[in-house]
């Protein structure tokens, strides 16, 4: 379970900001730098740095080999994968059980 130390204050805003950073990295592709993130996002430099640092620590972002840019990390991939569904569930089927109407 991830530590929530970075999200103590104004939680919804912090979560929104973190997703905005992740979406910016995903939209730009591997290699976007901190400066480019600051230019692209409506946040202060300090906020972007703090969020990027936290996301790197949590491995949602990974630095490029030259350390200046960022890529999406494996934890984003884990989110996308989600849990493996039972084989009896067809990929096209609805996840919820059918409601009974009597």
């Amino acid at each position: 379970m991830a530590d929530d130390a970075g999200f103590r204050a104004r939680q919804p805003a912090a979560v929104d900001s973190a997703f905005a950073v992740l979406e910016a990295v995903a939209g730009h592709g591997p290699g976007i730098t901190s400066k480019q993130l600051v230019d692209a996002l409506p946040m202060s430099k300090a906020t972007v740095y703090r969020i990027v640092k936290h996301l790197v620590e949590q491995e949602y972002l990974v630095r490029t080999p030259d350390l200046a840019g960022f890529m999406l990390g494996r934890r984003v991939l884990d989110l996308a994968r989600g849990p493996v569904l039972p084989q009896t569930v067809e990929s096209q089927s609805h996840l919820g059980a059918p409601e009974r109407h009597s």
Binding site: V56, V62, R63, G73
Partner: protein
């Protein structure tokens, strides 16, 4: 780059224990904290706060590197990234000497404490050859522990420190119950002299030396970008808390010279004091294990970067440790006690001299590395007011306390430390010149690139263990 190590296997608690073991606070809290009152007088607690506070600032500054990349070279790699290969090699030479001295000191003092425990249990003081034999045995125990792999050795350090710290707390509680704690008197600054307070702060800083050693385990740590910076800071805070507690408790008995008899002052035979001395000996063995771990990772980094023979970069298939680097350093580790034995000296004498030099040299290396934060973050475009403040405070504070420590050495007639400091700088410069001739400078200060399995590359299925 650092293939062959047991990646992502060392937890946060074990990382903290690793750095705490190298600092060895249980022994310091029972010696330095008590002698601090005699050196500083009023304001000893302020010395602890200044010394520990500066180390915390340095840990935070080093965290700027540790939160951005992983490498086994710790401060050597940090200095090279920020200030270039020459500074990196000078810091690398300082770390080699520093960690080697810490291993020697740990082994020699473990043997000394076992000897003192033997006396406390009613036996005779072991002779110099027996103490030297204990040093060799201690080195054997360290090698056995290290050879089992990093998971085992880090658990050993954690367990040893748990025993040592629990023992320390029992001793402090006993002293506090017997003599009381006079907080208003202990915290009074009446009659405090700034010069003496700074001298005390320099003493405290020499005690906290080694807090950065867990950074050598960055490749082997779980969530390294988060756990390594935090572990450095936490180990400093744990040590600071213990030193502060000991300083406050030691106030009422500052004039007593306990000489290893906390439960029965003045007595020769004391079973509980013998047990305390054995616990301290155990923490010194943990110090040797962890300093040797850091030393072997540093040599391993040099070898993998091609600036030392490649054979030193080999890792064991089962143990997943840099076994070749470990074995290569064994003769250097054993030489001081064996030379002391041949000369008829106590095995701890040479190690203690080396440690005094090593602390000054490591403090200088800390200052250089703190300075490296500024160009490093500037180059990445991530330069902030916080990093500048950390770097400037670290550099200025370290320079002041190193100077105070040097002046203390000079006042005692010891000028050798300047010679050793110059020798380390010259060694780094010569090494740089040799590498430049071999065209091998470009390999200095490398870090581990992410694995393909750790990143999400668009249009590509998640891969195996290849580098990204």
């Amino acid at each position: 780059m650092f293939d062959g190590l047991d990646r992502r296997s060392v937890g946060y608690g074990d990382l903290v224990a690793h750095s705490v073991a190298v600092i060895c606070p249980s022994a310091s809290a029972l010696s330095t904290a008590f002698s601090l009152h005699r050196v500083v007088g009023p304001g000893a607690w302020l010395s602890v706060l200044i010394g520990v506070g500066l180390c915390w600032v340095l840990a935070a500054a080093f965290g700027e590197f540790a939160s951005r990349f992983t490498a086994t070279g710790s401060l050597y790699t940090y200095a090279a990234k920020g200030l270039g290969p020459t500074a990196g090699l000078v810091v690398g030479c300082a770390l080699l000497l520093g960690y080697l001295s810490l291993v020697d000191y740990g082994l020699a003092d473990a043997s000394n404490q076992v000897g003192r425990a033997a006396v406390a249990f009613g036996g005779a003081q072991p002779s110099a050859p027996v103490l030297a034999l204990l040093v060799v045995l201690g080195a054997g125990v360290c090698l056995l522990v290290l050879w089992r792999g990093i998971r085992w050795s880090s658990r050993f350090a954690f367990s040893a420190e748990a025993v040592a710290l629990a023992t320390l707390l029992v001793v402090l509680a006993t002293i506090a119950a017997r003599h009381g704690v006079d907080l208003p008197a202990a915290l009074s600054l009446e009659g405090a002299e700034p010069g003496k307070v700074l001298r005390g702060a320099a003493m405290v800083m020499t005690v906290v030396i080694g807090f950065e050693s867990c950074a050598a385990l960055a490749v082997e740590a779980e969530q390294p970008f988060r756990s390594v910076p935090r572990a450095m800071r936490t180990s400093v805070l744990i040590t600071g808390g213990l030193l502060l507690g000991s300083t406050l408790v030691a106030g009422p008995i500052a004039d007593h010279r306990l000489r290893g008899r906390w439960f029965a002052p003045g007595e020769v035979v004391s079973f509980p004091d013998g047990l305390v001395l054995l616990a301290i000996a155990l923490s010194y063995v943990a110090l040797a294990v962890c300093a040797w771990t850091a030393l072997s990772r540093l040599v391993f980094a040099f070898a993998r970067e091609g600036i030392l023979p490649a054979v030193l970069g080999r890792t064991g298939r089962r143990s997943a440790i840099p076994g070749a680097a470990l074995v290569a350093t064994l003769p250097v580790v054993l030489a001081p006690p064996l030379v002391a034995l041949a000369r008829g000296d106590a095995p701890g004498a040479a190690s203690y001299d080396m440690l005094v030099w090593a602390t000054v040299i490591l403090m200088t290396a800390y200052g250089i590395t703190a300075l490296a934060v500024v160009p490093f973050t500037h180059r990445l475009g991530e330069f902030t007011a916080r990093t500048t403040t950390l770097a400037c405070t670290g550099v200025v504070g370290t320079a002041v306390l190193t100077w105070v420590d040097l002046r203390t050495n000079f006042a005692q007639g010891d000028h050798d430390v300047l010679t050793v400091l110059a020798a380390v700088a010259v060694a780094g410069l010569c090494w740089r010149a040799v590498l430049a001739r071999r065209d091998a400078v470009s390999g200095i200060g490398l870090h581990e690139a992410p694995l393909r399995s750790e990143v999400l590359v668009p249009g590509e299925p998640p891969g195996g263990e290849q580098r990204g």
